[in-house]
């Protein structure tokens, strides 16, 4: 149960609205609710998570009751209902990946980031969580990072180091340029 603390006014950019409209056009007249999942993905990519004001705005755009959007957003695991790190490392925790060491990789990530599953690092850069089968069992252990769900396979501790250090460096470099 969330108390509405985040009451900021959400305004979708014209670019986003154009994309939304393109999506709605894929479905027959009056079936715009079909656009809900793709639009929530876009909204999450834009804002990092789907807050209540974002969902309300999506509901308004698609002419739905807000509760219809909440029902859907809470059903699917890909939608974040609270703020996350800039990079969310989602590690597959299901059987086949565990046969080849996914549990160790998750422990290693926990150690390296020094935050528990679901928590955000103090610098706001990372959070991580175990997710169910990502359908890449032959390349396990695997992890993905949204919003484009870039895939990292055959993970080892060294590869995790490389990935996390690389992302840290990238952010630091960007900060310098600015």
């Amino acid at each position: 149960m969330l108390k509405v603390s985040n009451t900021e006014e959400i305004v979708f950019t014209p670019e986003l609205i154009t994309k939304f409209n393109e999506i709605v056009a894929r479905y027959p007249e009056g079936k715009q609710k079909s656009a809900l999942l793709p639009i929530l993905h876009l909204a999450q990519a834009e804002y990092g998570w789907v807050s209540t004001p974002v969902m309300d705005k999506v509901a308004e755009f698609l002419d739905l009751k807000p509760i219809e959007v909440y029902e859907v957003a809470t059903f699917y695991t890909m939608f974040f209902l609270k703020p996350q790190g800039k990079y969310v490392l989602e590690v597959c925790r299901t059987g086949p990946c565990c046969l080849v060491g996914a549990e160790k990789i998750m422990k290693y990530i926990e150690q390296k980031l020094e935050v528990k599953e679901g928590e955000v690092t103090p610098d706001g850069l990372f959070s991580w969580r175990g997710v169910e089968c990502l359908a890449a069992c032959g390349m396990g252990p695997v992890l993905q990072i949204g919003p484009e769900y870039t895939f990292y396979e055959n993970l080892t501790e060294a590869k995790v180091d490389e990935l996390i250090d690389g992302l840290r460096l990238k952010t630091a470099e960007k900060a310098q340029i600015i």
């Binding site: 059987g95 046969l99 089968c133 990502l134 949204g146």
Partner: protein
Amino acid sequence: MGRKLLLENINVPGINTFDVYRQKGGYRAVEKVLKGMSPEDVVEEVKKSGLRGRGGAGFPTGMKWSFLAKPEGKPRYLVCNGDESEPGTFKDRYLMTYIPHLLIEGMIVSSFALGANTSYIYVRGEMMPQIRILEKAIAEARNAGFLGKNILGSGYDLELYVQPGGGAYICGEETALIESLEGKRGNPRIKPPFPAISGLYNCPTVVNNVESIAATVPIINDGGDEYAKLGIGRSTGTKLISASGNLNKPGVYEIELGVPVEEFIYSDEYCGGIANGKRLKAVVAGGSSVPILPANLILKTLNGENRLMSYESLADGGFASGTMLGSGGFVAFDEDQCIVRNTWNYARFYHHESCGQCSPCREGTGWMEKVLHRLEYGHGKLSDIDLLVDVSKKIEGNTICPLGDAAAWPVASAIRHFRDEFEWHVSRPEEAMDRNYGLAHYADPLPKPEAVAAN
């Protein structure tokens, strides 16, 4: 080398692009159906091919197509099920990544056969890269005149869209997928009515797996009869097998149905044996839902015959000593793997993925997970083992959709075949935390059929 139909050109550089795919004979099937076949002809070819649904259920695709209602004035839909989420299965990801045009071509052929003018490819949201690949492929096909209005001057129109899921295994169930495509929670519908009568937007709809749709391309190119010559018995054609776990060469393999399981595991053409020189303990042959079998039973049937990679041979012996081909998710366990831990892991998966709509699955999956967790972590009781079997029976067959069965089977089968390992976790909890039970007798030569029957 076995014959390849889907992955024949998979190693051709640039096969993911329209131009190269076309040079290699791609979109011939579209030309063939649009220029000289009626939709009924196409359905007939697919029926003749004996193609069975590659998503897991193995229902004959041609028959499914022929059930589609064709009321006047209502559109019909083809929806491709790319929600691949069954643990152990990753063939559709492979196909969509490396040879997306095969799926697009199959969609055009199948949509034409069903009289659909708008079709959707529902891909799980986590496969965003594959969604981008497909969107690009669709744009290429459209530019080349294979999609849109009046395709190749035939008068046939088709629009094709990719729809992302949101992270829910249950959306692989066809009616849950339809609900999800309608922008709702992925709750499976109560059947009847079946999608063939009332599916997407209450219109007649066919939902087919990615691989099934792709398989229509070689079926049209070579003819259904040619396709049916491949394979064995009622398991016709080729099948993509996703091989994972403790194998030397995990990956996606296209096999002609009927390859012996032993050959599939140990030959260099396929998985190249068990990794790190270890021995095989168990196999889940068709995705996490199907019963797990110990090494001896997966290699040979109770009658001592070689088990083959086919719908019938894997099912030989029923659930007592057999399993299912399912979606072709082949997971191999080496001697160091713990069956109890794996069963708990699978139970957690189904608990996490239950939609929560019907009570046996919503409550039962969580209960099983908790009991298995307790067993794995050394707090179990001997009675827990029978309790698990009983709870699995209370779920199996009593739910709205097959997820209940899918959650019950792995637990029931693990206890059926590995009961002593479960008991060991109870009787030696401290030891079980330190080491694994090992191979025990699971790779032993088969017991005589009578002996098993007496158990």
